[in-house]
């Protein structure tokens, strides 16, 4: 071999290591260094208290200053808003229940027909019979006030954002932040400014529920086809006419979907706001019975929430679907042209007369209330007693073999009682050997990137989220962000994590990270599997779809009831609640992605003689990856949203910190905790989005 040839050979072998991999090698050396040194330099794992910046105090100071000057204005606003709300509440609670039921049924009929009307009648009647009528009407009153407010905010912001580029530049990032800030965190500043009372819940839900309206309005207006707009322009529309006679009507369907989402968000927030108390609504009923461990009672009240959610969703979705529909022009006199108004008026008059004549129809007598809470309690305790061994086994196994290592690290968790061995030097050598074996397998299957993923997960599992040195964690996430999405994403991730570190939120953030990561992994694997199954099998899809729909419309609270019932409070219950809620997008997007792979590609594969299994693994799944990534992103967002609610069942972490700051009205702590959660969500979002986008580019699915 000549010298020149040897030189090119050397060059070739150098070139085979990509610069990206090289960076990871450097990272690996640093990580090992950190892990070796961590016993001597404690600050590597535990960020010292002295290094925490006084961000919390500064925020408190700012808020004090702000309230000192502006509180009277907000209190005034609060009073102004309280009157109409009291009015609606009064009307809803005092009008005879048959009237209310009839009116809701008429609206439901107009939205979707007889079946929905019957469903609404049955649901409302359930509330009457169980004796939750007044509480339900309080909740309804709050929603009735906050939804129009939300829609108004949404219309103004959406139109501004659509018309002016500068407004869009402000609104879009604001919406991003708003949709990632945990729900409880909304309540803190509003609570401080408006004072305790139902107005807080109303204002909070009006603000919380406006983003979908803004987004759908802007999206709908932008999506109106060019030639429709041009035809409007050529008809001689001025700007005003173009907007209100062409764009908005043409975008009506999307806008109505926004209204549907806004209603559901408002309801969710109203339920969550019950935590402040003082309004005797159904959310409070669930919460207080759950705290007292009155399982039967909370189930009965929880069912009311479920029913309200389903009614609101179906009715508003019915109208949204109808908005694009052809409306037949009615002819005839006034009564024939307005059947809805006429039948409502009839219902009011007839119902009022009935209520006046027969008192039962005015106020449902207490004696007739059927409240089977005790029976339910007996049933539940029978169930938990008889299946204790099974449920406890599931809980213990998941905790010891998966959750606790993720939380505190295998090195601290492995005990002879649980894992069957002590974490001796020999055992850890065996662990790393196994990991290297898996790593080399991964290298074969997926190249060096798979090895990096295996290594990172291995480190995490061994040292746990709370035992991993923070420089290692931050460096790993920043590196991933850089290689996936460029320096902007990397900088954002780095600064976000830096904020958590210096504000003192890091240990709690790591606890939240562990719970989120654990549930996301489970959701992704289980949900992905279900999604694939549903994509391949129409019957499975038909069964899963309504379940998914129902799970998605539920206010988050409701998930806690069955979980706590069986597994009591703790991390495992929180995990289950998160999974129930966050698995839905994993299923949906996987199914959607696979089902919408270009049929030509599948036909081509079939013609080449692929088996169904090969088509799935070699064609459908690779092409569906961008869509599945979007699903993963949603899973993360959903998991974080639920994480805060899960604080109610006794998890530790940022969620619990937000909740704590709410109950103690500590603004600074709330902002730091809520902000950290929002940052976590946004970092995850940016990285996954960038990843999905680059995958999409590689596959030629976008330009």
């Amino acid at each position: 071999m000549s010298a020149a040839a040897r030189e090119t050979g050397a060059l070739m072998s150098v070139r085979r290591i990509s610069p990206k991999l090289l960076v990871w090698m450097v990272f690996g050396v640093l990580a090992i260094l950190c892990l070796v040194l961590r016993d001597d330099a404690k600050w590597l794992v535990k960020y010292p208290k002295d290094w925490i910046l006084p961000i919390e105090a500064g925020l408190e100071y700012l808020m004090d200053w702000f309230t000192a000057y502006f509180k009277p204005i907000f209190r005034l606003l609060s009073d102004a808003l309280e009157w109409p709300m009291k009015g609606i509440q009064f009307v809803l609670q005092t009008s005879p229940w048959p009237v209310t039921i009839a009116i809701v049924a008429i609206i439901a009929y107009a939205a979707k027909g007889w079946r929905l009307a019957l469903f609404c009648i049955a649901s409302l009647f359930y509330m009457v019979v169980v004796g939750y009528w007044d509480e339900s009407m309080s909740t309804l009153a709050l929603v009735c006030m906050s939804v129009p407010l939300s829609i108004m905010i949404g219309l103004v912001m959406g139109l501004l954002g659509f018309q002016f580029r500068w407004a869009r530049r402000v609104i879009e990032p604001t919406l991003d932040v708003m949709q990632t800030v945990p729900t409880f965190a909304y309540l803190i500043p509003i609570l401080i400014l408006f004072g305790i009372g139902p107005v807080v819940g109303m204002v909070a839900s009006a603000i919380y529920a406006s983003p979908p309206m803004v987004r759908n309005l802007m999206l709908g207006l932008q999506r109106v086809p060019d030639n429709v707009i041009e035809s409007g322009q050529m008809s001689g529309c001025n700007g005003f006419q173009l907007l209100f006679m062409v764009r908005i009507p043409a975008a009506m369907h999307t806008i109505m979907i926004g209204v549907n989402q806004t209603i559901m968000a408002a309801l969710a927030m109203v339920i969550i706001a019950a935590i402040i108390g003082g309004f005797a609504d159904i959310g409070w009923e669930v919460l207080s019975t759950m705290r007292k461990a009155q399982t039967g009672q909370s189930l009965l009240a929880g069912l009311v929430i479920v029913l309200i959610a389903m009614m609101m969703d179906r009715i508003s979705r019915g109208f949204a679907e109808r908005s694009g529909e052809i409306h037949v022009h009615r002819s005839g006199n006034y009564f024939a042209r307005h059947p809805m108004l006429v039948s409502m008026a009839t219902a009011i008059v007839a119902g009022s007369l009935l209520a006046w004549a027969v008192p039962v129809f005015n106020a449902y007598p207490d004696a007739w209330i059927i409240y089977p809470a005790e029976g339910l309690n007996t049933a539940v305790s029978w169930f938990t007693r008889n299946f204790f061994d099974t449920t406890d086994a599931i809980k213990t196994y998941t905790l010891y073999f998966f959750m606790l290592p993720m939380k505190a690290g295998l090195e601290r968790i492995a005990r002879p009682t649980s894992w069957g061995f002590e974490m001796t030097a020999l055992a850890s050598v065996i662990y790393w050997m196994i990991l290297i074996a898996i790593g080399s397998l991964a290298a074969r299957l997926g190249g060096w990137r798979a090895v990096v993923a295996v290594a990172l997960l291995g480190i995490l599992f061994y040292y746990g989220a709370s035992g991993t040195p923070w420089p290692v964690f931050i460096a790993a996430v920043t590196l991933i962000a850089f290689q996936v999405g460029g320096w902007k994403v990397a900088l954002f991730s780095f600064l976000g994590m830096l904020f958590m570190l210096v504000s003192g939120a890091w240990p709690r953030a790591m606890l939240s990270f562990y719970l989120t990561a654990t549930s996301v992994i489970i959701c992704f694997v289980a949900g992905g599997a279900l999604g694939i199954w549903a994509a391949q099998n129409d019957r499975v899809s038909a069964v899963l779809r309504p379940i998914n729909d129902t799970l998605q419309t539920m206010p988050l609270f409701v998930f806690l009831i069955p979980v706590v019932m069986v597994f009591l409070v703790g991390d495992f219950s929180a995990l289950l609640a998160i999974i129930m809620y966050a698995i839905v997008p994993a299923i949906r997007y996987t199914e959607h992605g696979i089902r919408h792979v270009d049929p030509v590609a599948i036909e081509a594969a079939r013609m080449m003689g692929c088996t169904e299994r090969q088509i799935l693994w070699k064609v459908k799944l690779p092409l569906a990856i961008p869509e599945i990534m979007v699903g993963l992103n949603q899973v993360v967002m959903f998991a974080l949203a639920m994480l805060v609610i899960a604080a109610l069942v006794g998890t530790k972490g940022l969620g619990q910190w937000v909740y704590d700051s709410l109950t103690n009205a500590r603004f600074g702590q709330g902002v730091i905790a809520g902000g950290s959660m929002a940052l976590m969500a946004m970092i995850a979002d940016r990285i996954i989005q960038a990843w999905a986008a680059s995958k999409k580019r590689d596959l030629g699915l976008s330009t």
Binding site: S231, M234, N238, A250, I326, H329
Partner: protein
């Protein structure tokens, strides 16, 4: 010659440019777009990361004429028709309608011009999905604030004109493509515009329906005598409908002429690519090849008659046939020899390409 040159000019497009890109304006110091070296400037524009969608486009449209702009996708034809109505704001140049530069008029004046003088038909119909057929057709009138009775009456008239009577209460999605485009046509005619823009109106339709709609369009034009700018990517459609054709490529006009001129004397290889497969006997008319001497014969054809229609007469033994103008006066003559050489000539041109 069909001879539209002597008729009054309705619309003039003079040195119009549309450049897309961050600093599109910097290429034009004077606003009128009249540059010394067009080709040089186009190169400069394209090399600087800008896109010249329409480059130095000039033409006149005469009153009552069907002026077809033909080009493949990306040739700039849709951009140009939008510049004429200012749906797209030209970067430079002048668009003169009835002696007034459209590019200088105020926003309000422009809206007024669109309301009363222009009508436009779109490729994908551009119907408002939430309005019925009647409401769609009446929409331009509603915009102007015309009373409900009057706009209903006028819209019904238009619906009748395009043959959609009985479908007034239907919604766009209930109609076939051809029917939807009839609604689009009725809507564009509802304000009785003088200028009628049609942007690939039949391209989204099936070939058979397209043919029907072309006939329908010619029937309407015989009735209405509008001044028309018609956009198409279909060369045969252009030949069928046009009084004059402008052929565009890469944002520039390659040739303007009557269908016969384009077929017999293609300006360059690009145009002759299109003309190669055109059945010339169906395009060349008696007027195109007639000599000006008045013959002694009773055999007379209209100057618009195609060679395909004339040839049987020669086959029947005629030596010379007189050609009469639209008004009926004898304006010249053709011989079998002439017909043969016209066909042979054009073939020679075609083969040379």
């Amino acid at each position: 010659m069909t001879g539209t040159d002597d008729q009054e000019v309705k619309l003039t497009c003079r040195h119009v440019w549309k450049v897309y890109g961050p600093e599109a304006d910097r290429f034009f110091t004077a606003g009128n777009g009249d540059v010394a070296d067009t080709a040089g400037l186009v190169d400069t524009i394209n090399q600087s990361g800008h896109i010249g969608a329409a480059c130095d486009v000039s033409f006149d449209v005469h009153i009552g004429e069907i002026f077809v702009i033909m080009g493949l996708s990306g040739s700039g034809k849709s951009t140009i028709v939008r510049c004429l109505s200012r749906l797209v704001e030209p970067t430079a140049g002048e668009v003169i309608l009835d002696g007034e530069d459209l590019l200088q008029v105020s926003r309000d004046k422009l809206i007024d011009i669109r309301r009363h003088k222009m009508g436009m038909v779109f490729q994908n119909f551009g119907l408002l999905p939430h309005l019925s057929v009647l409401e769609n057709v009446a929409f331009p009138l509603q915009i102007q604030g015309i009373s409900k009775e009057e706009r209903r009456a006028r819209a019904m008239e238009m619906i009748d004109l395009v043959g959609l009577s009985g479908r007034e209460t239907s919604y766009p999605r209930q109609l076939s493509g051809g029917q939807q485009q009839r609604v689009g046509i009725a809507r564009s005619l509802c304000v009785e515009p003088e200028l009628w823009f049609l942007d690939e109106p039949f391209s989204a339709l099936d070939p058979l329906i397209r043919r029907q709609m072309q006939d329908e369009f010619l029937r309407l034009q015989q009735l209405l005598h509008k001044t028309i700018v018609f956009i198409t990517h279909d060369f045969l459609e252009a030949l069928r409908l046009a009084d004059r054709i402008a052929i565009m490529k890469d944002g520039r006009i390659v040739q303007i002429g009557t269908p016969a001129e384009v077929v017999m004397q293609p300006a360059d290889d690009y145009v002759s690519e299109f003309t190669q497969d055109v059945p010339r006997v169906k395009v060349i008319t008696a007027g195109d090849i007639a000599t000006s001497d008045v013959p002694q014969t009773d055999d007379v054809v209209d100057e618009h008659a195609t060679l395909e229609e004339i040839m049987p007469r020669f086959a029947g033994g005629a030596d010379v046939i007189a050609v009469k103008s639209g008004e009926g006066a004898i304006v010249g003559s053709i011989t079998a020899q002439k017909v043969l050489s016209a066909l042979a000539d054009s073939h020679a041109t075609g083969d040379a390409a």
